[in-house]
Symmetry: C2
Subunit: 382 residues, 2 copies
Amino acid sequence: MVGGGQLARMTQSAAVALGVRLAVLAERADDSAAHVVPSTVIGSHLDADAVRRFARSVDVLTFDHEHVPTDLLHELTDEGIAVRPGPEALVNAQDKGVMRARLAALGVPVPRWALVGDTPALETFAAVAGWPLVLKTTRGGYDGKGVQLVASIEEAESWLAAAASRDDVVLAEEAVPFRRELAALVARSPSGQAAAWPVVWTLQVDGVCREVIAPAPDLSEELAAEATRIALQIAGELGVVGVLAVEMFEVEDFRGRRGVLVNELAMRPHNSGHWSIDGAVTSQFEQHLRAVLDLPLGDPRARSRWCVMVNVLGGDHPDLYRSYLHVMARDPGLKVHLYGKDVRPGRKIGHVTVYTDRVDGLEDALARARHAADFIRGVIDE
Amino acid sequence: MVGGGQLARMTQSAAVALGVRLAVLAERADDSAAHVVPSTVIGSHLDADAVRRFARSVDVLTFDHEHVPTDLLHELTDEGIAVRPGPEALVNAQDKGVMRARLAALGVPVPRWALVGDTPALETFAAVAGWPLVLKTTRGGYDGKGVQLVASIEEAESWLAAAASRDDVVLAEEAVPFRRELAALVARSPSGQAAAWPVVWTLQVDGVCREVIAPAPDLSEELAAEATRIALQIAGELGVVGVLAVEMFEVEDFRGRRGVLVNELAMRPHNSGHWSIDGAVTSQFEQHLRAVLDLPLGDPRARSRWCVMVNVLGGDHPDLYRSYLHVMARDPGLKVHLYGKDVRPGRKIGHVTVYTDRVDGLEDALARARHAADFIRGVIDE
């Protein structure tokens, strides 16, 4: 697995159970996964030689992020290395412009969009889509970085200039007045087997995932099926191998339409699937391993009526042991996951999960999970 | 954790989630846990210097087996090292003679027993307890090793001679005509908090644990409560820290008594608790870490109506990948755990778990788990 973040770390737990030997290419010796994976190689995913050497040392190459250059992955594939997902699929998670064009060609519902290189092009698009607009860098964004809501051409100028200086274009999209965000998570193996987890509700704050509820409450069966169908269609048409997360906007009356629009793709375990560790028969991490190793996929069904995941962000509390004493004593059923990262304000340092079989237990589960996350962060002190 | 077997390996998964840095003292670089724990130190648990150095490098010392000499652990405790469980508790899991005397003094029901050093002493005990008798080495036995059923004084001679040559005595016990074997698993923290998992049924074949059903079927509430009470009593009276497994015989009419008799103790995660990884809110591995770190204990309740664990023993099938293809395709809900050990006939190389919420689903769950274990072992081929 290229990348030593928390996704690789959590993949290690699945690898330990399956008896799979996980190796990681991590940038730094104190990366989250490096603490728990003996076969950690230190090297940058941007260093072609390092990636090449690492790739040749493993049976299957996969990723905890999208940042390995596409050209390099093509070169590895040409050499006969099993790269999963392959570069032709992965480029759709690497380059938002490629993704938008591909999804549009597939007839998948997406916001109106345009790749714009200069002010006149943006003005032309704005005349159709209206202000405000969402501007995105085509590559390299994550967790709200590389995304900007702009209300006028003046606000967009600096983005256009920055892109031009990189010889790049900007992806402009209409701002969708969504009811909420959903995520449909599926996995697909090289043999073409696919499995879909329940569609979840995701709450982002400042572009960072904060909470996930599985399954999404108040979601009609029709819309859940539609979201799942779209995710499976994308996985199949793009030839994805491994986990595919499809982030969507749910719209209630948008250009006369009720349904979902696809926002982003990720081809790896994803924050919207962390609930599955404790909440599903097969976690996204186990499933990703099974998929990239071309093993039969596991049952993705939920084990409880509701499962809630809340991210733990770093605060001013560096002493996590004392936080543990409190949150564990208060809630023996809470599942805490910490990533072994240094605490820095706003950084994702872990998550907590609460599940319940009570049909009316969602509010209570949310309250428990939020309390624990807030307490560990240091936002509350009791 | 001293010892690099599968218990340390499975503890690593819990440590990864909790953000706890696990270090392991393993005898060999290819031990089960050494594959998955970066902070593995190679050294023998019988090498006092190696254990001492390792103990001084960690915050809390705990164990994946009982084989560290008691004297050495006392020395470490005297030095101020946190040894959990402490030597005064642990000696009861190390020395069956000490354990029998202690449990008898506590009034815990045990089979009739005697420590015997020679033939006359054994004859005296046999005159009371009758033949056959069970002979056990006081130290070092596991998985049926160090245990022998003998029908006559002649059959016992070689055991007595072997013990005498080690300057040791033999533990002789009456052979209990049990209905079945049960295990009560509890955890206790230094603060005295305790938690008990449901009492399970365990099936041993040739002294090796083969199957566990949680909770034990057809067990009256009274007997379950009695077994749990005994385990909690032992944990408290002995000052156990961490997981305590109490293996028991269930008797239906034995010397006019219906109930349980304590057979063996283990003070660490135990085969009878592997089901808890997939089947309980808090696994025994997470609980052991929480207990030895003096964190509040987690909820030990079962998540499903039935949970079945079947050990996978090594067979003539070294190619586990092909086995995986079959068992995973046949049963997407099966949870497979392999320990990364070389396959040798009869060796515990993994386990499989199946859970179900169907009240009448036990037979089906057992059949699924047995099929998978047999297939991976190579006993069946479809």
